[in-house]
């Protein structure tokens, strides 16, 4: 899909819908006929970002495939809160096997569909960051390397949330988790570890790799749609704030995701065949503090014995991302001076 040139419609393309736009130009989520792939009554926490990300992505995939979709799910919050016996929230064909094997199961489903001649049925696999960057990584790398026809979506809440907020290979430096306590000279998760899975995926030269957040629905839907136009291995990494694990207020979920992008800590981009093809520029450049302060997992960086040195190191990471992906365009650059609040 090429992106609509947006005429000025009050909320332009930022809000979910817009009464002034034609139905076709609105998001999937604005439609009362959206699939609601994951139904009400699920047991996700108040303000869960993961369930929101999953509904956004799968509803878009359902529309892109005319409902011909099978979703494979790794173990994790998304599976546990959606499907406690004897209930399920899934309104789509959905399959759960194990924590670490979702990419392989999805490869199998795709192969089975091909063998049965149901080439119109497309396959999505989904997992948390633990299931993706840690335990599922071997299977995933294989799926990439074989270019299997699966869209793999990682809902990144930066930790093993379902089992009580343990560190994963996607937990950011300085964040407190149950296994990276906020004590000692280097409180929280250590610097210099962890994996940047979107870049690892790109290194596999697969047709499509993209990142997104729950704060920009238009971008997320457009990326799912683009992914479904392509065959072969595709990877989408969605940042989904977790009020429980991050210690944030339940109503801040989208705001925090937006700040992750606006600070540069979470670069939002798309890449095809290993090359970055587009980035979402920062609209109002924001210092990392504004993002960190809203989360109790970083509380040890502020308060009575603050750690501006650690905050500065996090700012460096953001600045590196900004430089690497070119997240500040000239226009936004101009607004930097006036908008950076210190």
């Amino acid at each position: 899909m090429t992106r609509q040139p947006v005429r000025f419609y009050q909320v332009g393309s930022f809000a979910v819908g817009n009464r002034l736009l034609n139905d076709e130009d609105r998001t999937v989520q604005s439609s009362p006929n959206r699939t609601n792939s994951i139904d009400s009554g699920h047991r996700a926490c108040q303000g869960c970002g993961e369930v929101l990300g999953a509904r956004y992505a799968l509803d878009a995939a359902m529309r892109a495939t005319n409902g011909q979709l099978v979703a494979v799910n790794a173990t994790g919050c998304l599976e546990v809160f959606s499907t406690p016996y004897p209930e399920t929230s899934w309104r789509i064909a959905w399959l759960h096997s194990l924590f670490g094997n979702a990419p392989a199961v999805a490869t199998g489903v795709a192969a089975a569909m091909r063998v049965k001649g149901k080439s119109e049925v497309r396959v999505v696999a989904q997992a948390g960051d633990g299931g993706t960057v840690d335990i599922g990584f071997g299977c995933l790398s294989g799926m990439f390397e074989r270019n299997d026809d699966v869209l793999f979506i990682c809902y990144d809440n930066e930790g093993y949330m379902n089992t009580g907020v343990q560190r994963s290979g996607a937990t950011p430096p300085a964040a407190r988790t149950a296994t990276t306590v906020a004590a000692g000279p280097e409180p929280g998760n250590v610097f210099g570890q962890g994996k940047d899975l979107p870049r690892i995926a790109m290194a596999h030269d697969i047709p499509y790799v993209a990142t997104a957040t729950v704060a920009d629905l238009h971008d997320l839907e457009q990326k799912v749609e683009r992914a479904m136009e392509i065959h072969g291995a595709r990877y989408l990494h969605v940042l989904v704030p977790c009020p429980l694990g991050w210690g944030s207020a339940s109503d801040e979920t989208i705001h925090i995701a937006r700040l992750a992008k606006e600070t540069g800590l979470f670069p939002v981009f798309a890449a095809e065949h290993g090359r970055v093809t587009s980035v979402s520029p920062i609209r109002h450049r924001t210092p990392v503090e504004e993002y960190l302060k809203l989360q109790r997992r970083y509380a040890h960086l502020f308060g009575s014995s603050p750690r501006p040195d650690i905050v500065a190191r996090l700012q460096e990471i953001a600045d590196e991302n900004i430089a690497r992906y070119g997240l500040v365009t000239e226009e936004a650059g101009e607004s930097v001076a006036s908008e950076v609040r210190t």
């Binding site: 947006v6 000025f8 419609y9 009050q10 909320v11 332009g12 393309s13 930022f14 809000a15 979910v16 819908g17 817009n18 009464r19 002034l20 609105r26 998001t27 989520q29 604005s30 009362p32 609601n36 139904d39 009400s40 009554g41 699920h42 047991r43 996700a44 108040q46 303000g47 869960c48 970002g49 369930v51 929101l52 509904r55 959606s82 499907t83 016996y85 004897p86 209930e87 399920t88 929230s89 629905l217 009020p243 207020a249 339940s250 109503d251 801040e252 979920t253 989208i254 705001h255 937006r258």
Partner: protein
């Protein structure tokens, strides 16, 4: 139960699990009062009519507007738009050009000949309105719409009050003024011109009126004692503008000084320029920051070659020469004499020092209380005298046409309650939609569109309108800059962002409702509503 191959379990839906029981707070849709509406002296539902205009429904927008104010084309030219000063968008980039859109709608209505709704009601009550300025005309309009018979009398030869005899044509073209007034008169207002009411009580009794609305304005230009030689021409600005409006301008000479710092001073100086004065100098005792005139008006005057003598008072005027005393501002900002004098050549001096009321028609209305030359009124605009109401410049308030229109409306409702023997209902105001209630992330960046201005050279010799109107495209753009403060504009955000699918979309124009079986009370919808139309309230247990 029969299950497909390899399926051992028939899953039930999670909708059996009513997560609404987790809630400690619940979201609630609200309508908050947009600051523009709150600031409009005529009580317009600005956000409401902009909402219609945003979708290009200009006639619907106009109809919504004229519910409160029958003069959008006039207001769109002369209102000092306190709404724009209050507009929340000021804190994003610049205020929404409310006044320009209002004018666009007003002009479009005149162009298309849209008429005001026909009056069908007849209460049989007769109301006398004295004075046909904006206050009297607005009252007549609203009284007619409430079904009362209205007799509108004015001592002048034409309707409009200061809108005709004060405000010059280069700011308010007479075709526009005439057309909007005619539309009100066409609702069946009985008009009597050239009739000065000398005793309001007698007039009320003679005509058997159920109530009276006094909208006599403040017609008398204030004068100060300035020693002046016999040949020196000193005229008050209000009389001067009045004569110009009647097509009978006095001869002023080439060098005109205007004494005062209000809008009337600017209008007098700009008018003098147009009548051929080479020098039009405004003498004002304070500085620019402390000038009561509006900045835009001052800019326009300066652009037309009007010059300023700040910090000066007129000491005397003799033999074509004004003697000015230089002032300095003390710590409180009050001007104090310095004892230093300057001279200024002038053929005429126009005094624009404010206006006084002429309330001699109240001589037998003994219960009407007049303080400081203005009539005291209650919230219903009723004076101390039963059935006698007053508004506009004759009562204590800001002296603007918009305030007068608002008074006319308020008085009409007060009169209606009085003559019908009903209680005047006061609708409680909604909570204000302040800037912090908004989530402005969602609005597109969109700088304001300014109205075109007539080239300066053409402004010096004629009374052609100075400020132009917006094109349709620009008016639409401007309307869409509105943030819809405090009032849902169906952006679907709440519907989209709820992690629990607990927002039900009811369809175009019908807004949304919550599904409290499943709403967990996370508050995301509240936080992400761009315009602050949702609030969180404690759950009642």
């Amino acid at each position: 139960m029969e299950t497909p191959f390899a399926i051992t379990l028939n899953a039930g839906t999670s909708r059996a699990n009513h997560t609404g029981s987790w809630r400690t707070e619940r979201p609630l849709y609200v309508d908050r009062l947009p600051p523009c509406n709150n600031a409009c002296p005529a009580g317009e539902d600005i956000q409401g009519w902009l909402y219609e205009a945003e979708s290009g429904n200009y006639e619907a927008a106009w109809r919504k507007l004229v519910v409160d104010n029958p003069f959008p084309a006039i207001m769109g030219r002369i209102c000092f738009h306190p709404c724009e000063t209050a507009c929340n968008r000021v804190q994003v980039d610049d205020a929404v050009g409310i006044n320009a859109v209002e004018r666009f709608l007003g002009d479009l209505a005149l162009e298309h000949g849209w008429s005001l709704p026909v009056v069908t009601l007849d209460t049989g009550k007769r109301i006398l309105v004295v004075g046909a300025g904006p206050a009297g005309l607005s009252a007549a309009y609203h009284l007619r719409r409430l079904g009362h018979q209205v007799r509108l009398v004015d001592s002048a030869e034409q309707l409009g009050g200061m809108m005709r005899y004060g405000i010059p044509a280069y700011r308010l073209p007479r075709v526009t003024l005439d057309a909007e007034i005619a539309r009100v008169v066409d609702l069946g207002v009985e008009v009597e011109l050239g009739h000065a009411v000398l005793d309001v009580e007698a007039e009320r009794r003679a005509g058997n009126f159920d109530a009276v609305f006094l909208a006599v304005g403040a017609q008398i230009g204030k004068r100060v004692d300035i020693p002046a030689g016999d040949s020196s021409k000193v005229i008050d600005a209000v009389s001067f503008l009045h004569q110009v409006a009647e097509g009978d301008p006095p001869l002023l000479g080439r060098r005109v000084a205007v004494y005062g710092g209000g809008d009337t001073a600017l209008d007098a100086a700009r008018t003098a320029r147009r009548l051929g004065a080479t020098d039009a100098v405004i003498v004002y005792r304070r500085n620019r920051e402390r000038m009561p005139a509006h900045g835009e008006e001052l800019e326009q005057a300066l652009g037309e070659g009007v010059t300023m003598r700040w910090l000066s008072t007129v000491d005397r005027f003799e033999g074509g020469r004004l003697v000015l005393e230089t002032m300095r501002l003390n710590e409180q900002g009050f001007p104090e004499p310095t004892g230093e004098f300057e001279e200024l050549d002038a053929d005429a001096l126009l005094l624009a020092l404010g206006q006084d009321t002429d309330l001699s028609l109240l001589k037998t209305a003994s219960d009407v209380v007049v303080n400081d030359g203005v009539v005291q009124v209650q919230a219903s605009m009723m004076t101390g005298e039963d059935g006698v109401f007053a508004g506009g410049d004759a009562v204590p308030a800001d002296r603007t046409a918009t305030v007068a229109v608002g008074h006319g409306k308020r008085a009409a409702h007060g009169i209606d309650a009085y003559v019908m023997g009903t209680a005047l209902e006061s609708v409680p105001k909604h909570e204000l939609a302040t800037f912090e209630k908004l989530n402005t992330w969602y609005y597109s960046d969109a700088p304001r569109t300014e109205r075109p201005e007539l080239e300066r050279i053409r402004r010096q010799t004629n009374f052609e309108e100075v400020v132009g109107g917006l094109t349709e495209e620009n008016a639409l753009f401007e309307a869409r800059r509105c943030l819809s403060c405090g009032n849902c504009f169906e952006c679907d955000n709440c519907f989209g962002v709820c992690p629990d699918n607990a927002v039900i979309k009811l369809g175009p124009g019908l807004r949304y409702e919550f599904d409290f079986d499943f709403c967990k009370g996370c508050g995301i919808c509240v936080k992400e509503c761009p315009c602050g139309a949702i609030t969180m309230v404690p759950e009642i247990i």
